[in-house]
């Protein structure tokens, strides 16, 4: 019984952890490129904010899946 709980928690952690790493990696690349762009064209701030924010969807979806694992898997 306890083993199952550990497994569920581990799966939930994976569900949010892996997308979090993926988001971090994507944002690091986009952020670095965005910072370079802003140095030359500050008027693109809005576009850069959007581009940096886009990969966050991954971790949000990961969070949803993790929540579903924790609350629906019995």
């Amino acid at each position: 019984m306890n083993y199952e709980k550990v497994l569920i928690a581990f799966c939930a952690a994976l569900a949010i952890g892996i997308p979090a790493l993926a988001t971090a990696w994507a944002q690091s690349r986009i952020g670095a490129a965005g910072a370079g762009t802003l140095a030359e064209k500050p008027e693109l701030t809005g576009t850069i904010v959007i581009l940096v924010a886009i990969p966050e969807t991954m971790v949000i979806l990961g969070f949803v899946v993790a929540t579903m694992i924790l609350f629906t898997v019995k």
Partner: protein, 626 residues
Amino acid sequence: MIVRMSKIEIVGEKPLLQGVLALLRELGIFQIEPATVGFIEKEWEKDVRSFMLDEKTVFERLFLEELRQKIELLFAELPALAVRKSYIEPVSILDTVSKTIDRHRESATDLSKRREVLVKERAELGRYSIFLNALASLVQTTAETPDLDFIGLTIREPDMVGHLREALSRITNWKYELQTEPAEDGTLVGLITVEKTASDKVKKSLSDEHVPELTFPESFGKLTFPEKVTFVKKRADQVLREIQAIDAELARFTRRWVPIYQRVKEWIDDRLSLLNTTAYAFETRMCFFIHGWMQSEDLPRLKQRLRDDFGARVMVEEKEMHEEDLEQVPIVLKNPPYFKPFELFTGLLPLPAYTSYDPTPFIGIFFPIFFGMILGDAGYALVLGTLAFVLLKKNRHQGPVRDGAKILMIASAYSAFFGILFGEFFGDLPERLFHMEPLCMERRTAIVPMLAFSVAVGVAHIILGLILGAMNAFKHKIMKEAAYKALSVVIIVFLIVIIASLFGYFPLVLARPVVLSILFLTPFLFFTGGLLAPLELLKSIGNIISYVRIAAIGLTSVLLAFVANNLAGVTGDVVTGVAVAGLIHLLNIILGVFSPTIHSLRLHYVEFFSKFIEHGGKKFAPLKKT
């Protein structure tokens, strides 16, 4: 909201063009359109050409450009000092200035060049001074005899001294003296005293060994070493005095003449700007034409001023706006005082197209709600509200800081509202201290309800975006797009009904007809939205799920506050507990400003605006006095 603009044509007698342009510049309400496209009918195009300046005006322009260049060159020679403002009438002194400028520039250039030479000499003297000062003490202990010669040198490496002594012993047969002293710049300087007969040999040997001998300029003449030291000091003082005298002279000149030249230059800039603007006008044999854009509400004022100043000799006509003009119309955003500060966020995006919507009111309505839902803590709201109040008091003039403070104030009010609903005041303090229950739900434990609430907000927001998009498309008679967006709304609603049926909120029997309805609508979706329509629909569903971040980030905030309060309890000491909790709450408040702001904006920029706002507008840039 996007202000209604008018397409304007101003026609008048050619000699009045500059007067009309001057008036337009004074009013600052009219943007000139340099292109004729959309303004002049095709059959008239051959009779209309760009406005050509007459010979007298061309000469005036050349004269003013030359004078401006001379004034700029004069300014380049003068020091940048704060000077009084001159109120002299520039036109009356234009001729005088054109005659005096050459003399003044020559005089200023001479002074500047002289100063430059002196500064260079002072730098060189400084270099010799370092060397000579280091040797001064050595020279004083050395007997001054006519048979002896002194050779100064710089020794870069201290190890060289031994090697040098060996060489000197060999050349002079032990008849020499070498003294060394560290100089102010860290190098080692040396003074060799030898008999004059051996001097040349020693110098040659130093040259062969690549030991640099210090050579003095010709002005030092045949001075002895001690005399050189005194000479350098005297000359350095003299040069400094001369530089100070030139500086004083330049400052006096600047204070006396720069205000006058500055005044003349401003007038020339203004006049040349007006003359250059004439290039955007058009002419026929008798008349000039100016085309452009202005806010419709300003049109009566322009008509009145032109009538007052020029009578019936200048006419204004509001032209019909065609479909092809819409891309050229410049954009002015004007919002009520409540929404005005949110233009700070709109400014991060490209301007909306004239036919689209101003994003500001939408950000003004939804941003504080999302911010409040994410932060949702009355205590934090109190801190942020106080911060916003202080910022507002300290920044009384309009600007980004004041706008930001106003936004923070509004967002704090919403945070306080949601904080009361969630029963949060610096986390779960009300429950810990007074056993108070939340009015609505406790976010820390009610995770699934909070997720559902966030998604519900997302559904409402995205559907609103799609409806606005459909309305906009319908208004511009793009029926396929309007139908596609309306169909998307219907399918999203159907999908929600299916999910609600599956989870038992609606009767399960409802699911089958709704699925059939979706299947029935799918071909229409392809027809209106193209082959990628289902993909776009999936994107919209993804957009809705993205609103889960409201609950997710809110959860991190509430958990951090919970941890802060727990740690405070664990310390067992009131002072330490308050300090620990205070620090963590402070961190949470800092995060609570940035994180909700960025995520709320992202929900607007990416999820919401992509459904109905078209970008690509150009900023309204009216003709104004420089």
